[in-house]
Amino acid sequence: MAIAAALLTLGLPFAAFLLLALVPRLRRSGPPAGWVSIGAIGAAFLVAAAAWLAEAGGAGVWGWIPGAGGPLVTVGVLLDDLSRAMVLLVTLVSLLVQVYSLAYLHDEPRPALGRYYAYHALFAFSMLGLVLAPTFVQMFIFWELVGLCSYLLIGFWYDRPSAAQAAVKAFWVTRLGDVGFIIGIVWLWAAAGTFEFTALFAEAAAGQIPAAGLALTMVLIYLGAVGKSAQFPLHVWLPDAMEGPTPVSALIHAATMVTAGVFMVTRTMPLFALVPDVLTLIAWVGALTALLAATMACVEGDIKRVLAYSTISQLGYMMAAAGAGAAAAGFFHLGTHGVFKALLFLGAGAVIHAAGTNDVFRMGGLFRAMPQTGIVFLIGTLALAGVWPLAGFFSKEAVLAGVLHGQLTGPFVLLALTAFLTAFYMFRVVFIAFFGRPHDPHAHLHDPPRLMAGPLWVLAGLTVGLGLWFTVQPPAGEHGPGWLAPLSLGLAAAGIVLAWATYQARVVSADLLATLLAPLDVAARRRYGLDALYALLYRGAMLGCSRVIGWLDRYVVDGVVNMASAWSLRAGDLLRRIQTGVPQDYVYGVAFGVLVLLVWAQWGSR
């Protein structure tokens, strides 16, 4: 039953994709294409919900690449607690985002809309395939496929040069991480002889995996997560990925795909647990990522980019938790973050849709004009800031507790600082965009249409509902010391107050703050120089190297060939002179030759 349910959730979006891909007429019809995809993901969501309620579990594995002694590579489905929760999240957010997109992209040409939904159906299939993967190879397969969908959807408006550039950049940077991932997978296969999780975990538990080189192997596998989950230093693609349509950012670059790295680390925790040093590395990198991204969010003026940095920052949280050994807390945060970050992105989408700009400084006073959007955005913001009793509070506290429990004081301090910054930069956006003086008093701003508002309210309801649920029934797992909850709340409150004082009451000058923290401000605005560094590496090292090789190939390797050819031509030229064209000369040659032969025969016969 469980396997059938898993296959059904997987098959429905795939069927929708095939339908849209193979029937051009349907795809070009626009909204009907959208409804096909929405119907499929809706049905998949129902199946996932049923499986969740029934707590169905099971695994099925089938051969994919045959080998002499049984299949070399297998694929299948693995439905357990982890994948059930993830499947539910993915189908739910996908469903809401797809419904939302129908109104958001209302003005798009119909063929483009159909294409958009074809990508979405493919994405839903790929993400579910990733989540349900019972083997490393299958996880890699769908890992790459979600990357492909991300690439295609970032570049949805492909005639914008910035979108094209961002799409390619996202693909390259994540691909760089995947280079490590695939090497790690192959090494692990060579060491353990299988790609299947259950077999690998059994071997890990029995201590059968050779320890030699395992740490490096796991670091390489973790590299894949660094790319996909936008960890330092491969996080640079995510802010640029905001070139895609906002619903795409909500789904792929906030709630689902970017969390794949966290999911992978959580999924393979029994393997990572064998190498504690790598886990510590993961925690440190996660905490560092969280802080760096938060500082960059503080100086960003583009509402979507603020959210993107905040996503990176929260992914850092999750990774830090996983690295501290509290994978469950990390995964908990993944789930709640998926809900309220999708809410924030969709809310931002509604704002952008109405205001026609991404720049928060050109918004202002939106709360009055768009009360519904304002309320849900505020709910999301509070959740992200970790304010009780919203869902974010509980998961953030769980993460902090987990990190503390893992004896990782350094990362804990970084994360606590991040919590403060998170509240600050989010409320900075809220105060500037929603409460400030209207930028353009004559603009006709209005709340979004019902198809957009519906998903917003569902997500807002979930954020609040989950929070209330956890208040009534505290989540299982690690609980920190008594001072943790007040600390976390206090940090959030401090951030909110600072933002209020700076951007609403204007008792603190933003410029003054910037001047006080000048080096940090400059560095954060320049994104810590990482983009420049990558651009330099790409242009200088890679393209430069390719130019040199290309030149060498053309003018040296091929030059030698041409030299040989030219020498043969010259030699031929010399020999050519013998051919005078005068018949007598040839006869002289023959006669002389005969004479030589005669003499030689005489001399030789002696």
């Binding site: 064209g581 005068v582 002289y588 006669a591």
Partner: protein, 102 residues
């Protein structure tokens, strides 16, 4: 059997061959060259006939017949080429016919 021996025929053939070769090498006129070739071929014929006679082997005569037949064709084709060349180039001087020079 009286008369000159084989050697005499071979010397005669060698002389005729040498005269033909000399003609080919010194003549500039294409027709002269063809004549030289004829002489050389006939020198070979003399050899063949002589050997056939002295070895009492008819194969030599058969070869000679073939050679004569082919010589006729060769002269025919050769003269035809010379005439064709003359029509185009207004000369049959071999020194001027150097289209094949490499």
């Amino acid at each position: 059997m009286t008369g000159p021996g084989l050697q005499a025929y071979l010397i005669l053939a060698a002389l005729v061959f040498a005269i033909g070769l000399f003609g080919i090498l010194t003549r500039r006129n294409a027709i002269g060259i063809l004549l030289g070739i004829e002489l050389m071929l006939n020198a070979v014929n003399i050899n063949l006939v002589a050997f056939a006679r002295f070895h009492a082997d008819l194969a030599g005569l058969v070869f000679t017949l073939f050679t004569i037949a082919i010589t006729v064709i060769e002269v025919g084709v050769g003269l035809a080429i010379v005439i064709a060349v003359f029509r185009v180039r207004k000369t049959v001087d071999a020194d001027h016919l150097t289209l094949l020079r490499g």
